[in-house]
Subunit: 342 residues, 2 copies
């Protein structure tokens, strides 16, 4: 339950064995005592919703995202003398039983030599667990920082796969701009990796409308599992996601904002629809989310080329072009504008 049957055979090796193979092949530099990295958050334009395999975090379909420039995660690592990793999040030391610490420690223990323990200092510039994908930028920054610390010198696609083990969408957060994550076909996920698209859209704007920054009651992981197990409408999702991805990728290549943004909104609404049709019903929207969604639709009906997307949370992300920024700011007082290609 919670995953759909893979079209390929299950992996013959464990996640740990896969990690060991990747690191065995790495040409190490000298490890450092300290390292740091930054990774941007990202917003999927065609969504990742559903795993074909849970231990490797392999998606049912590919996806494409836009990274959020200065909104993301700064992570510093240092080697410490102690029995456990020590994690500080946004200036606050976390208890070892905190679920974030548990996930992070599990990832570190898979990739580090035995008994090497780290102090991890993480600062998110986006609210944690409010649908702004802080786990994506978090695991991407952790992967980049660990690569630096350990002197792995791994190629980018392998870093993407390592980040994916922590959080699926982290595979896309290693780069700025548009990023495509290939679903892949291999049982161990070696080909389920992201790469940046070359297109630059300096006029693209993303608006963040934060309805709530509270931790959501149902995690994305749990939400995906419930949707796959109980939502009959989900059966159509993989085909739609695949079609939407192709449409959006072509629109990005053509510089066609309207097609890109319209398909992104349709894709996001359809993803939320698969959740509403789950049992028990899964609705991440808050009443205020719906009020803001209606406002977007009303403005669009009045002629403003403004579109929305939403992840597994209550917050809206607006998509529009620079020339309409003044209209958007005047309609949404609290909107935070991001310039992805600044």
């Amino acid at each position: 339950m919670g995953t759909i049957k893979a079209a390929v055979a299950p992996s013959k090796i464990s996640v740990k064995q896969w990690v060991d193979r990747v690191l065995d092949d790495a040409k190490f530099n000298v490890p450092a005592a300290k390292a740091s990295a930054y990774a941007p958050s990202n917003i999927a334009l065609s969504k990742y919703w559903g795993k074909r395999e849970a231990s490797f975090n392999l998606p049912v379909t590919g996806s494409v995202s836009i990274s959020l420039a200065g909104h993301g995660t700064h992570t510093k690592l240092c080697v410490i003398d102690g029995p456990k990793h020590q994690v500080t999040l946004n200036g606050k030391g976390l208890d070892e039983r905190d679920s974030f610490v548990i996930k992070l420690s599990q990832w570190l223990d898979r990739v580090l030599p035995n008994n090497l323990k780290l102090g991890v200092t993480t600062v998110n510039t986006v609210p944690t667990a409010a649908g702004l994908a802080s786990s994506a930028s978090g695991f991407a920054a952790l992967t980049l920082a660990t690569n630096n610390l350990m002197g792995w010198n791994l190629p980018q696609h392998q870093l993407s796969a390592l980040a994916r083990l922590g959080s699926g969408s982290a595979s896309r957060s290693l780069w700025h701009g548009f990023v495509k994550w290939h679903a892949g076909q291999l049982p161990d996920g070696s080909d389920s990796v992201a790469h940046p698209l070359e297109q630059q859209w300096p006029n693209l704007r993303v608006g963040l409308l934060t309805v709530s920054s509270h931790t959501k009651a149902v995690s994305s992981r749990e939400g995906m599992a419930r949707t796959i197990a109980t939502s009959k409408l989900y059966k159509q999702w993989p085909q739609q996601a695949q079609d939407d991805l192709a449409t959006i990728e072509a629109a990005i290549a053509m510089g066609d904002f309207e097609t890109m943004a319209k398909t992104a909104e349709h894709n996001a609404m359809s993803m939320h629809a698969t959740m509403a049709a789950a049992w028990p019903p899964l609705v991440y929207w808050q009443p205020e989310s719906l009020a803001q969604m209606q406002k977007v639709w009303q403005l669009r009906a009045q002629g403003l080329p403004l579109y929305l997307t939403m992840d597994a949370g209550p917050n809206l992300k607006l998509l529009f072009e620079a020339k309409h920024q003044a209209d958007v700011v005047s309609a949404f007082e609290t909107v935070e504008i991001i310039t992805p290609f600044s």
Copy 2:
């Protein structure tokens, strides 16, 4: 666009020809100068969402409903001397260009002898066009009153088919209690008729939570057409609707409230999901609807066996048993309680 291809050949006769055949076979009594009838509103437990044929109002799937006892439509008819039907709705004379008058006149002109014009006095005890299916009780009451006025003496299944021509769900509003509408297979819809189920559930309660009684911006007819034409998730709906109908019918026969109500909520949420996945997105919920839905889910998580269903509108209908009425009334101050088997 707007209808899916019928599995059967299109009808060889028009709606008017079908009506003429039915009425030719009727054993008429003497027509009267005046007649009246009442029909209850009904709430679908497994929904009617999508037409396989638009002129006869033939549904993609069957459906099952519960009628709302005293909530419905009273209609009085009298023969008048004039060029046009005259319609009074809730005490207010309507202009001939009113869409309600146009729909009603079209139905009357199909079934009445040439040049016979009626005065129609209709009183709804439910808000018009707010998702409380006043068109269902309206066309059912009109059908019953016309049968009385004209002395048709038609059998019930033919009255159900005639009511369906005005509004699909009107086929179910001729009776109190649980009513099943068969999808049917014939091109002219002769077998797409409803009949009452024999089971009586005196302990069943329906709670009406009216969020808005404004006329909705997108009619059910338009909403269905848009959903079928643009919602990829809709492809799964016919199978789910058919399965849910079978589950609910069995639960009604077994007296199994939880299965009936749970399946009804899952069915309604899935129907709304097919709409959210349409383009442009179709969301009948208001922010206040979502607040009330969350309240229902919260109460249920706390142990109250309370379920909801919603039609193509912003209002909630609660499903619960008599023993929990006090809890429901205390949680929802404005709820209106209906006893379907009173």
